[in-house]
Symmetry: C2
Subunit: 143 residues, 2 copies
DNA sequence: TTTGACTTGTTATGATGTAACATGAATAAG
DNA sequence: CTTATTCATGTTACATCATAACAAGTCAAA
């Protein structure tokens, strides 16, 4: 896995330095979603730097090169535009103006639940969010 | 909209107090995704408390009662289990053990992109994450 | 009208993330 | 080989997001 990673990086002119490699190893070994500070603790314990940017930079690098993923958690709020029905919509968030749209996403959600069930995973809550351009900002961006 | 909200709450034995109502109004007026501290600034400027819990409590209340949504952002990392193909999988995250699974989600993603396109929204990146129980933890939970 | 549940506010702290700068290592140009 | 340049790593300091624990006030019902 590491050799494979090194090759991919070399092809892109990027290097798998010690911190980066160790960071990747830590993620691979854990097989879990890890917070940046958890990774940082491990790195620091092994003699690497103990300040947040050390971990964040290594992680960002791995994500940039397709060797790791960044997962999500809570961070912003918006009024529900269609209260009343028990709904769990998908969100469209404009990266320019932060405009928010809610999309009925029951089919998408059901597909996901079913797909997960095939591997024995019980979905309790699903997050479906898209980042992109709303019609207005897409128009404004066009010449 | 507010009357409707008040009715819904009354039916549940919950009250739309001034802070809560104003918080909902702020979200509704903005039509955007807002950070909790942004909401807090508005509340404080209007004579409500100026400490974080004031906003977080009101927001949490609205979310609990289906009047607002909580959106997401970056917060955790995991090794990519299938590097190489240009892929943007869905994630299954076990809430018990943080185990992570990647699911090929191209169909789900395409459905979302198409659905969004119907309202003129251009999807650039989509986040599909499910929280629930992995098979092992589901077994452990069973008696 | 007093009890008890709930609401609002506070202080304090924890958790997450980034900007800006100094130093050191690797690579490429001469 | 040596120098110049780029890239990596580490630091300090700070910005942003979130919650725990407690005190005081409000409201409805017994």
């Amino acid at each position: 896995m590491l050799d494979q990673a090194r090759d991919r990086l070399a092809a892109n002119g990027a290097r798998l330095t010690p911190v980066r490699q160790r960071t990747l190893e830590i993620l691979l070994e854990s097989h879990r979603a890890m917070g940046a500070y958890e990774v940082l603790d491990r790195l620091a314990a092994e003699g690497f730097g103990r300040q947040p940017p050390v971990a964040y930079r290594a992680l960002e690098f791995l994500v940039e090169h397709g060797l790791a993923h960044r997962l999500q958690r809570l961070n912003a709020f918006a009024a529900c535009l269609h209260p009343g029905h028990d709904h769990a919509p998908a969100f469209l968030i404009c990266r320019e103006c932060d405009m928010l749209a809610e999309l009925p996403a029951a089919p998408v959600r059901d597909a996901l639940t079913e797909l997960a069930a095939e591997s024995g995973f019980q979905v309790e809550r699903a997050t479906i969010e898209a980042l992109g351009l709303c019609p207005a900002c897409a128009d404004a961006a066009r010449p």
